[in-house]
């Protein structure tokens, strides 16, 4: 009897014992799961950058005495959000810690911390330059040291769409080594090798000082992941920025064959402004987001229909950002611009807008802002997508959404 009791207590003890922190688990069927404090964790998240009306990206919301994250965290918890994604920590680490603590302690919301990896440095990110590399690496390591012991931290995401710079699409850079190569295709491959090797180097350094949080590679679309497979084996997951409308297409299976890591959809979503009819269309946004979340769930571990390699997503984004269309004109930051900035045929409802420009950068929030103040911050008004995704998370229905015709039949 005594022996039996001892076994029982040992069993109960081991069952209750949890591994602290977060890590990736590879299952026998080669599916991937994110495990947080011993339990499977689906990232149900949002990209969080609560810039108020009238300010731009330089605004230090972390130090806002009205604490917008307190209001937002409550709304997020009510929706079912468990994670926010931050692109870059603030200059004041104490302010950063306070936000992470408040979100976690008050609402149980964890934070994915990011770093731009110098992507926006003038004149361009010189990833082939040792001094530049060291500067960026030190900055990231400093972030990890500062925040790694915060219980609310979930993991690290390195870069965002920095891989586009290797292709020369955005912020193109070069180095002596690259310049010596006459073949432009090989130049691209060389830049990718340099960049992903650098990310891998940072990832290894993080693992040395922090074993409790996974490291993600931020990547625009799937471009360059064949190089990441060769040169960045030490990252724990890939954090993809994807704007493909109703469906992610072959993304999950494709990653299986090119860079077999767990996938976090770290930026995806839809705006809620119909650029063709020139009016807000919350139905359109909700339709795309629900379809996208259904695919995320279909590709979670142990779903036979999917690739089993998705760990969740952080949709773009929590609130609208009114500064985005005319970034250099402060007067414009108080206007909710309806001009579209770019074209994407996957968001087909309003693709017949003038010049096919249908992506309205200032209208991606699942929560609208109004100029009216409430608790010292712009009043939050959840859009239809907020409620639709809330219900989806309660009762996920994975049936693929049928193609929905635009009101114009096109």
């Amino acid at each position: 009897m005594l022996v039996a009791c001892s076994f029982l207590s040992l069993f109960i003890l081991s069952a209750c014992q949890t591994i602290p922190g977060a890590h990736i688990q590879k299952l026998k069927n080669k599916n991937y799961r994110l495990i947080v404090n011993g339990s499977p964790y689906i990232v149900k998240g949002v990209c969080y950058n609560p810039i108020p009306i009238g300010a731009n990206h330089e605004y230090d919301w972390w130090s806002d005495p009205n604490k917008p994250w307190i209001t937002d965290g409550k709304l997020m918890k009510e929706m079912g959000i468990n994670t926010v994604r931050i692109y870059q920590p603030p200059e004041n680490p104490e302010a950063g810690k306070q936000v992470i603590r408040d979100l976690y302690q008050l609402y149980g919301i964890r934070t994915l911390m990011g770093d731009w990896l110098g992507f926006w440095e003038y004149p361009c990110p010189f990833y082939g330059d040792k001094k530049f590399q060291d500067k960026v690496k030190n900055q990231v390591i400093e972030m990890v040291k500062t925040y790694k012991d915060e219980p609310g931290v979930l993991g690290w995401i390195l870069g965002n769409e920095n891989n586009y710079s290797c292709l020369g699409h955005v912020n193109p850079w070069s180095s002596d080594e690259v310049d010596k190569e006459p073949d432009p295709q090989k130049q691209k491959a060389l830049r990718a090798q340099i960049y992903y090797s650098f990310v891998n180097d940072i990832s290894k350094e993080i693992h040395k000082i922090d074993t409790l949080h996974p490291v993600g590679l931020g990547n625009g679309e799937l471009l360059g992941l064949d190089s990441a497979d060769k040169y960045a084996p030490d990252v724990d997951f890939v954090a993809c920025i994807i704007y493909r409308g109703r469906t992610f297409g072959n993304l999950f299976k494709s990653i299986r064959t090119t860079f077999d890591k767990p996938v976090l959809l770290s930026e995806f979503g839809a705006d809620c402004y119909d650029a063709y009819l020139r009016k807000e269309d919350q139905d359109m946004q909700a339709f795309f987001l629900q379809s996208q979340w259904a695919q995320i769930y279909e590709n979670l571990a142990n779903n036979k229909k999917g690739a089993g390699n998705c760990i969740g997503g952080t949709l773009f984004e929590w609130t609208d950002e009114w500064w985005k269309y005319n970034q250099d004109n402060p007067q414009d930051w108080s206007l909710h611009n309806t001009e579209a900035g770019w074209s994407n045929g996957s968001y087909y409802f309003d693709i017949r807008a003038e010049g096919n420009k249908n992506m309205n950068e200032e209208w991606f929030g699942i929560v609208a802002l109004t100029p009216e103040l409430e608790n010292g911050i712009n009043k939050r008004v959840p859009r239809k997508a907020y409620y639709v995704i809330r219900e989806f998370w309660k009762r996920p229905v994975l049936k693929k959404a049928p193609p929905k015709k635009s009101p114009q039949g096109g």
């Binding site: 432009p184 295709q185 297409g249 996957s346 096109g410």
Partner: protein, 383 residues
Amino acid sequence: MKKLMAVLLALILMAPAIAMAQEKTANTAKEFVVFLDKNSRENHFIPSGWMGDYGDIKMNDKSADNPHSGTTSIQFAYSAKKSQNQGWAGVYWQNPANNWGNKKGGFDLTGMTKLTFWARGAKGGEIIQKVIVGGIKGTYPDTVSVEMGPIELTDTWKQYTVNLVGKDLSYVNGGFGWTTTADLNPDGAVFYIDDIKYEADPGLKPLGKVQQPMPFYVYADRSSVGNHFIPSGWMGDYGDIKYDGSSKEDAYLGDTCIKIIYNGQATQGARWAGIFWQNPANNWGGVDAGFDLSKAVKLTFWARGAKGGERIEEFKVGGIMGEFSDSDSASIGPVILNKEWTQYTIDLKGKDMSYIIGGFVWAANVDNNPEGATFYLDEIKFE
């Protein structure tokens, strides 16, 4: 007088009912005729929608030359003279005549599952680029848009079927149509069409995408029936591009190759340009079409520059994003062309080629071709 008024009133009141009955006929009938014979009472659509090089078309809608049935068929003589400089031509059967979607007409053909027609060429070998069901847009757009083709005709009558299972046929104004091109018929074509009708066939299964056998051509030669995509997606500075799909300047294989002159003038201010080969033409993902090319492991093509040194930023397969997006994409580039024909390969291993509407694309820019670029392409095919 009162009796006459009563009859008139009754007729007026009954008119909508009669019209309703007409519309519903289609729902229960086993067939619905587009065209049988000249002046047949059963004809419901009129071949009024002449398109493209309409001056190249001659129509005889009472040809007594060996009709498939009855006393007449419709003869079309397409001269390929490019009278309107379009390079293609076609005819839509509409209701009412000349209805491009600007007025309410058409029919509710719900319940029909296929369209059948008979066709033959005068000599055999004539190529119809595609036949069309629906697809007219405008204020009153067709609820369906289905295409089939290309079709290489024989010199004897043959029946063709367009599968419409699962399609929304609740409003069809463009009852039937055909198009063809001068490239496909450089010497013109004379062909006959007869007995065009919708049919209700409850046993017909939906047309799933068939895995296409390899090789599968994007472009073989100007007149090849094997050309499956159309170079319709002109992008960026489209005014900078001249396209010749029948260049005889040292073709790599066969009679012709593609010659592209990109002058780099930035006519539209984009500073780049390119062409997508699409199925059907101008399909930016708005039409459920394309091909299942799952068997393809690579796309190969031959290319050369007029001088050598022309830089093409990207050659790509797939990647069109729309309501019906390509299932995947793959690319190579930048490519610096040689003066001699060189074969290039886009690796498709591990790619999902099950739904491809954008068969091939190139893109070049001014920055790397300040004086423009003239280059040639040939034998573009999936293998």
